[in-house]
């Protein structure tokens, strides 16, 4: 339980750092934000892998992504279709380059976790380094900082929405309708306590803005 609290605290702190990184002079610090995102992922994994998480339903709007750079506008997935923020929705827009590189899972969602990943209660789970959470975007032009920001948003966004739910179906549904269906699936994968989510609420707005 201690680890869970610590993990939650670290998640909150990390989100706060991402939020405050927005207005920094000199532009996005890629190194620091990468490190923060790694910590966020580790903490999130521990948080979700800890047993004792009551099943739950959270009416929190999934974060939407900041408008991507203009040249990607055409390839972008309409936000309504997908709760998961995706910079350039691959499987859905049918981009050739993207399709070729995409991993086989079609739903644009956070990775599904195998049973093996979960049971390490009490120790931070090391995230596999090569794991690709999301499908690659279509060949994008190299757009420097804006591209980075969009990528980081999707990273943070997926991490964040991962906190909400693991089920693709549930994600597609508007959470405000009630996520009852999600409860029947894997307890422990589904996120959390009301109070926790209430705490997380302001951060969802932060991520949206970011």
């Amino acid at each position: 339980m201690e680890f869970k609290l610590e993990a939650h605290r670290i998640v909150s702190i990390s989100l706060g750092k991402i939020y405050s990184a927005r207005g920094q002079r000199g532009g996005l610090k890629l190194h620091k934000n990468l490190l923060v995102s790694l910590v966020l992922r580790s903490a999130r994994q521990v948080y979700l892998s800890e047993p004792g998480c009551p099943p739950e339903p959270p009416p929190i709007a999934a974060p939407e992504e900041q408008p991507p750079p203009p040249q990607d506008q055409a390839a972008r997935l309409p936000a309504a279709d997908c709760r998961e923020p995706r910079p350039r929705g691959c499987g859905c827009c049918g981009e050739a380059t993207c399709g070729a590189a995409a991993p086989p899972t079609p739903p644009p969602c956070p990775r599904k976790r195998s049973a093996g990943e979960r049971g390490q209660a009490g120790s931070p789970v090391k995230r596999p380094r090569r794991e690709v959470e999301e499908e690659p975007p279509p060949g994008e032009q190299e757009d420097m900082e804006t591209g980075n920001v969009a990528s980081l948003i999707s990273i943070f966004g997926s991490s964040f929405s991962g906190l909400l739910s693991k089920e693709p179906k549930a994600r597609r549904r508007d959470p405000r309708d009630g996520g009852d269906a999600t409860e029947t699936t894997e307890p422990g994968q589904i996120c959390c306590d009301e109070p926790v989510l209430r705490t997380l609420n302001p951060w969802s707005t932060a991520i949206v803005a970011f």
Binding site: I10, L34, P124, R129, G139, E145, G147, N148
Partner: protein, 421 residues
């Protein structure tokens, strides 16, 4: 806050010491010539030249401000009367020429002394202008501007031992330049993934080998160092050697990745070793052994139990530098509370010293400090909880030939030398 020192570097002879600051200024100190009658101390360092190297810029396309903070300064070896250095901010590298002027021509026929042109009708005689001594003036002028080659933030520059080329490294790429050519550079390392969402590591520092002009290393945020040989291929994405120490599983925490990120890498003067600095330690690597460092020195191990707080207050992201002494027998690095640490590789002794005005009068010998990690604090020890984490020494430099060190606290530069008798 513009006075915050962001880089410190001795030149090749040690006579000059350059500092860069957050406000884009460079201040150069010069060592006074030794006074034969006062052989008990070497010359002091006094301000020699001050100039504005970089100004803040605005990238209108991306709506981003480009900071003028000087990230690194590197000196070129001296070839003639003038001195040259490279200074860089996040995006642009500049080659500066620093030259002395101690005489000026006087006695022009057509101009007054103040430069105004004389009425030609008043010129009735001709004379030859002569050079007359004047007060020493040190001028800095930008000779080359190397711009528009870096998408991400430049963290390192390093001059090649051929003295003709140099490299510049940002988070994801390393470029090779010729000092004479500003309109193009060659990309020699590119670790940007095709899909930025797969990004897992960035380049944190890079340096050319001191003797071997085809060899350079770069360190990463994952704690690895790659040695590359430019003769192998044009794009050095495949390393010749990969230096990495396996992680100690008993030390695993949420912050393991952050603290393993390397903040500085420096070759020894001999070129046989390299030193890396990560958040808690300094490691010495033998270039012939890739699987682990040959020496590891703990800088402030007592911080390991405080990593969560240090993450919260951002201190865990501080990038400490490290340096070798001239004979490669001692290494030095900074810490918090204005402490800095030296490790003697031969005797295995280490010392903690403090750079502060209150505790040290000029010409007094520095008193060794000790941090009490836990338990009963002895007299003169400082407990971990009373360390001031706002007082950090990130930048230190060691004179290439003598035991003179430069230590930068947030706003001040301290120069220490060993006691001579």
């Amino acid at each position: 806050t513009a006075d915050i020192i962001s880089t410190v570097e001795f030149n090749h002879s040690g006579e000059l010491l350059a500092t860069g600051d957050k406000g884009g200024r460079v201040v150069i100190f010069q060592q006074e010539q030794e006074n034969k009658s006062q052989s008990h101390s070497r010359g002091e360092y006094n301000v020699y030249s001050t100039f504005q190297s970089h100004e803040p810029e605005f990238d209108y396309l991306k709506s981003l401000e480009i900071e003028e903070k000087i990230n690194k300064i590197r000196w070129l070896p001296q070839k003639n009367a003038a001195q040259f250095l490279l200074s860089t901010n996040d995006k642009t590298i500049k080659l500066w020429k620093i030259s002395e002027r101690d005489k000026r021509p006087e006695g022009y026929n057509l101009k007054e002394e103040d430069g105004r042109y004389r009425d030609p009708t008043t010129v009735t005689t001709l004379r030859v202008p002569v050079f007359r001594p004047m007060d020493l003036m040190v001028e800095a002028s930008p000779r080359r501007i190397f711009a528009n080659a870096h998408t991400y933030h430049i963290n390192s520059i390093s001059i090649n031992s051929d003295y003709e080329t140099y490299l510049s490294a940002d988070d994801l790429r390393i470029n090779l330049w010729h000092l004479e050519i500003t309109d193009r550079s060659f990309n020699i390392v590119d670790i940007k993934p095709a899909n930025m969402e797969e990004l897992t590591e960035v380049i944190t520092a890079a340096e050319f080998h001191p003797n071997s002009c085809n060899t350079f290393v770069y360190s990463s945020s994952k704690g690895t160092i790659r040695l590359c040989d430019m003769r192998a291929s044009a794009l050095c994405d495949r390393h010749s050697k990969l230096f990495e120490e396996p992680e100690d599983p008993s030390n695993r925490s949420f912050f393991s990745e952050i603290i393993s990120s390397i903040s500085d890498v420096k070759f020894s003067h001999s070129g046989r070793y390299m030193m890396t600095r990560d958040y808690l330690s300094v490691k010495i690597w033998d270039l012939n052994m890739e699987n682990r460092p040959v020496e590891t020195y703990q800088v402030h191990e007592y911080l390991r139990s405080k990593l969560c707080s240090l993450y919260e207050n951002d201190c865990i992201f501080d990038k400490f530098e490290c340096c070798w002494n001239g004979s490669d027998s001692i290494v030095m690095t900074g810490s918090y509370n204005n402490f800095f640490r030296m490790f003697d590789r031969n005797t295995k002794r280490d010392i903690t010293l403090e750079a502060s005005r209150e505790n040290n009068k000029p010409r007094t010998v520095l008193k060794p400090r000790k941090v009490c990690a836990s338990g009963k604090r002895k007299k003169d020890e400082i407990s971990v909880d009373s360390l001031d984490f706002n007082k950090k020494i990130l930048h230190t430099a060691w004179h290439p030939k003598e035991n003179i060190i430069a230590v930068a606290t947030t706003n001040n530069l301290y120069i220490f030398q060993d006691k001579t008798n």
